[in-house]
C-alpha cells in the first residue's frame, strides 16, 4: 500500500508514479481487489449507458455545450452572478486557493461560527480548505460517508467519486471501533453505516454553517445544483442558517434545460445509477438564511487560454476515466499524488505544477479507454500524449530517457546504421550469460523473457521470397 499524501500538509513535491504504483501492486491480492471493485462500477456504467437511447449523441451534446460555455465564460459568469444576487445570494469571486479560503473563513469569522459541516467538494480539497480552517479554530466535519472515513484516517480521498474505495470494510470497522466506539471486529456495512449516521446526525445538529460543492451553476437562473447520493448536502444546507457553496468557474451551464443533458450523463458515468439520489437546486437562500456562492479561478483561466488543454476544463468530475483506466485500477488513487487522480488528474496535475507531476502523463499505456468513456468527450489520451511533448519541451524528461530517444532517433534515421545495430543486438543478446542479459539494467526482463533473436531479418526473408516467386 502506497503511503497517502498527508491530508493536512502539502502533497509530496515530486510524485514518482511508477514507484508508488509498484508499492501498490506489490500487495497482489489488494491490487486485484481494487481492480475488480472499480471494474464492477465500470460494468454498471456500461449497462446504464446502454439503457439510454442515443448515448453517443448525448455525449456530443454535452461536449458541444461545454465548448460553447467555455468560449464565452466571462459573459456567462456575469449573467450568473447578476441572477444569483437578484435572488438574494452573495456571490464572491476568488482568484486563487488562498483567496477562496480567506473568503470562507471571513464569512464564518464575521458570524462567530466555529462548527462547519461540509459535503463533498473536490474544489475545497484543491484549496486545502480543511487544514486552513482547522488551524483557525473551526471544527470541520466532512459528511459524505467516504469523505468522513478518509477524514478520520487523516487521508485525502483516493478517488473523486468513491473517496474510500481503497479501503476494505474490515479496515473501516477498525477505524470506527477506534473513533466512533463500534464493537471490535464489527465490519458489517449496515452496522458501520448506522454508526456513521448517528455520529453525523449529531454533527449536523450542532453545525452553524454548511458548506457544499457545486455540480452545475445555471447562468440563466443564478441557481446552483448539488448532486449527492446520501442527502448530506441537503442536511448540511438546510439545518444551519448559513450555506456556503464553492464552485470552480467551469461549473457553469447556460440554461436550466442544459441540465437535462448533464444530469443524464453524470450519475450513469459515475456509478451506473440513472440519476443521483438527491439532485438539489438552490435558488437563493432559504427564508431567514444566507447563501454565499464562492466562485474560484485558481489557474482555470490559464488553462482556458491554452488551446491544447482547454478541453479538459469540460470535465464534470464523474470519475469514469478512473474506473475504466487499467493503470488507475491497479495502482490506486494515491500513486498519482494529486487531488484529482487518474487520467484527468494526470492532465490537471502537470498544469498546476509541471515539474512535480512530470511522471503522471507517462502513467498511461495510452489505451484510450478514458477518451471513449468520457461523457463530455475529452480526448484524454491525446492530451496525455500532448503533455509528454510539453514536458520534453520544458526539459522535464529525465536525461536518461531523453538520451535514449536521441540515440534511437539518430540510429533510425539511417537504414544502414539501424540494420547494423539490429545485427549486433540480435547476435550479442543470445551470446550473453543469462545473468548479464537479465541484469538490473533490464527492466523488461525482470518479469518477462526477451523476444527471440532470429538469425535473419524480414528484409532477408523477403529477398529470398521475392527471388523464389
Amino acid at each position: 500500500m502506497s503511503a497517502p499524501p498527508s491530508a493536512t500538509g502539502e502533497l509530496e513535491r515530486t510524485v514518482d508514479h511508477a514507484a508508488a504504483a509498484a508499492r501498490f501492486v506489490a500487495d497482489d491480492a489488494k491490487a486485484h481487489w481494487h481492480d475488480q471493485a472499480l471494474w464492477w462500477v465500470r460494468k454498471k456504467r456500461d449497462a446504464a449507458s446502454a439503457a439510454v437511447p442515443d448515448w453517443e449523441a448525448l455525449r456530443d451534446a454535452a461536449a458541444g455545450l461545454k465548448a460553447h460555455t467555455l468560449s464565452r465564460l466571462g459573459d456567462y459568469l456575469d449573467e450568473f452572478a447578476r441572477n444569483a444576487e437578484a435572488r438574494g445570494a452573495h456571490v464572491h469571486f476568488a482568484r486563487d486557493a488562498a483567496e477562496h479560503n480567506a473568503i470562507v473563513h471571513g464569512i464564518l469569522q464575521e458570524r462567530g461560527i466555529t462548527r462547519l459541516v461540509k459535503s463533498k467538494s473536490m474544489l475545497t480539497e484543491e484549496c486545502h480548505l480543511n487544514p486552513y480552517l482547522e488551524a483557525r479554530g473551526v471544527t470541520v466535519t466532512d459528511t459524505d460517508l467516504g469523505e468522513r472515513i478518509v477524514q478520520l484516517r487523516h487521508e485525502p480521498p483516493s478517488h473523486i467519486v468513491l473517496p474510500a474505495i481503497h479501503l476494505k470494510k474490515e479496515e473501516i470497522g477498525e477505524l470506527f471501533h477506534r473513533e466512533l466506539g463500534t464493537a471490535e471486529g464489527a465490519s458489517d456495512p449496515k452496522v458501520l453505516t448506522e454508526a456513521a449516521r448517528q455520529h453525523l446526525r449529531q454533527r449536523f445538529l450542532e453545525a452553524e454553517a454548511g458548506l457544499t460543492g457545486v455540480n452545475f451553476a445555471i447562468a440563466e437562473t443564478g441557481g446552483v445544483v448539488v448532486c449527492t447520493n446520501e442527502g448530506n448536502a441537503d442536511m448540511g444546507s438546510t439545518l444551519p442558517r448559513v450555506h456556503i457553496a464553492c464552485m470552480g468557474v467551469e461549473k457553469l451551464v447556460p440554461r436550466r434545460e442544459d441540465l437535462a443533458v448533464f444530469l443524464r450523463l453524470l450519475a450513469r458515468s459515475a456509478t451506473g445509477q440513472p440519476v443521483t439520489t438527491y439532485t438539489t437546486h438552490f435558488h437563493g437562500p432559504r427564508p431567514d438564511g444566507e447563501l454565499h456562492i464562492v466562485v474560484v479561478d485558481n489557474g482555470r483561466s490559464r488553462q482556458l487560454a491554452d488551446p491544447v488543454f482547454r478541453r479538459s476544463l469540460s470535465c464534470i468530475r464523474c470519475g469514469a476515466c478512473m474506473n475504466t483506466c487499467p493503470v488507475f485500477r491497479r495502482s490506486g488513487g494515491y500513486s498519482y499524488g494529486y487531488i484529482v487522480p487518474g487520467p484527468i488528474g494526470s492532465i490537471l496535475g502537470p498544469a498546476r505544477d509541471p515539474a512535480g507531476h512530470r511522471t503522471l502523463p507517462f502513467a498511461s499505456s495510452l489505451c484510450g479507454s478514458c477518451s471513449d468513456v468520457c461523457p463530455v468527450r475529452i480526448d484524454l489520451h491525446h492530451e496525455l500524449w500532448a503533455w509528454r511533448k510539453e514536458l520534453v519541451k520544458r526539459g522535464l524528461l529525465p536525461w536518461r530517457k531523453r538520451a535514449a530517444m536521441k540515440l534511437a532517433g539518430a540510429v533510425l534515421r539511417f537504414a544502414w546504421l539501424y540494420r547494423l545495430a539490429g545485427w549486433v543486438a540480435r547476435r550479442l543478446v543470445p551470446a550473453l550469460p543469462r545473468r548479464l542479459a537479465y541484469g538490473r539494467w533490464n527492466a523488461w526482463g525482470r518479469q518477462r523473457e526477451l523476444p527471440p533473436m532470429p538469425r535473419q531479418t524480414f528484409r532477408q526473408l523477403y529477398r529470398s521470397h521475392r527471388d523464389r516467386s
Binding site: 511508477a18 504504483a21 491497479r330 499505456s365 520534453v392 533510425l412 518479469q447 518477462r448 532470429p454 526473408l461
Partner: protein
C-alpha cells in the same frame, strides 16, 4: 493488379520477420502485388509517444518520401498505422502526397475488409483462439466498436477469423482490456505493465484459449514474454500468421 507498399514496423523487421513474411503471403494470395521499400526503418512512434517530437520528425519525413508513390500502404500493425494516421499531421500537414498517404495507409485486417471488401477466406484453423484487441487498433483505427461506446457492434478482425473453418473464438470477460504493453510504458511502469499482462493472460486462460492472436506484435511480444517466463499453457500468434497458416491449410 493492385500494388501496395509494404510497411514493416522496425521490431517486426528485426525480431519477428515471420510476421512480415506471413503478411506478404496473405496479401499475394488475395491477388495483391507487394513492394517493400528497403530503406524504411521506423515510423517514429517510440520517440513521439515519449514526447520527443524532434526525433520523430525525420522519420515521418522519410516515411512520406518512401511511400508517397503508392496507391495503398499496408502494415501488420494497428499501432504504427495509427501513428501515421493520427500523429503525422504535426510533421507533414500540407506536404504534397501526405493527405493521400494518410487516407491510404492501412492495418492488414482493415485492408482486407475495407479495401479488398472481405474476400471469401478459404481456410481452416481448428483451435480455440482468444482475440486480443490491441488498443490502438481498437480505439484509434476503430477496427471494432469497443465496449465503452454505444454504437452498433462490429469487429473487422473477428469478421475475418469467423471465416475460418474450425476456429473457435473464446469469450473473454473483459473483451478489450489493455495488455499493458504501451511502448516505453512497459519498461517505465514495469510493475503495472506486468500485472496488466498477467491479468490479460488469465482472462484468456479462463476462457479456454490455446492461442492468443492480435493485430499488434508488440502487445503479443509483451504477453509472450510473460508466457515464457511463467511457462503458461498459451501461445501467441500474430493474426497475419494465423490467416497465413489457415489459408495454407485449406
Amino acid at each position: 493488379m493492385l500494388t501496395v507498399g509494404l510497411f514493416i514496423p522496425c521490431y517486426i523487421e528485426q525480431l519477428y520477420p515471420e510476421v512480415g513474411l506471413a503478411t506478404v503471403r496473405v496479401l499475394e494470395r488475395h491477388g495483391v502485388r507487394v513492394e517493400y521499400p528497403e530503406d524504411q526503418t521506423c515510423c517514429g512512434q517510440p520517440m513521439s509517444n515519449t514526447g520527443c517530437t524532434e526525433e520523430a520528425r525525420p522519420l515521418a519525413e522519410k516515411f512520406l518520401r518512401l511511400f508517397r508513390g503508392y496507391e495503398h500502404v499496408v502494415a501488420p500493425s494497428g499501432s504504427c498505422v495509427s501513428m501515421v494516421r493520427n500523429h503525422y499531421d504535426g510533421f507533414l500537414a500540407g506536404q504534397p502526397g501526405f493527405d493521400h498517404l494518410k487516407r491510404s495507409t492501412w492495418e492488414l485486417c482493415e485492408f482486407l475488409v475495407d479495401v479488398l471488401k472481405l474476400p471469401r477466406l478459404e481456410g481452416a484453423f481448428p483451435h480455440k483462439v482468444g482475440l486480443h484487441q490491441s488498443c490502438h487498433g481498437l480505439r484509434e483505427l476503430r477496427l471494432g466498436s469497443g465496449s465503452e461506446r454505444r454504437v452498433a457492434p462490429f469487429n473487422k478482425v473477428q469478421l475475418l477469423l469467423s471465416e475460418l473453418r474450425g476456429l473457435q473464438l473464446v469469450e473473454l470477460a473483459r473483451q478489450d482490456e489493455c495488455c499493458g504493453f504501451g511502448g516505453t510504458f512497459a519498461v517505465q511502469e514495469e510493475a503495472v505493465s506486468c500485472m496488466m499482462g498477467r491479468d490479460r493472460l488469465a482472462d484468456h486462460e479462463r476462457a479456454g484459449a490455446e492461442i492468443v492472436t492480435g493485430v499488434d506484435m508488440s502487445c503479443l511480444m509483451h504477453l509472450d514474454g510473460l508466457i515464457r517466463r511463467e511457462r503458461r499453457p498459451l501461445q501467441v500468434l500474430h493474426v497475419a500468421q494465423l490467416l497465413d497458416r489457415a489459408e495454407a491449410a485449406a
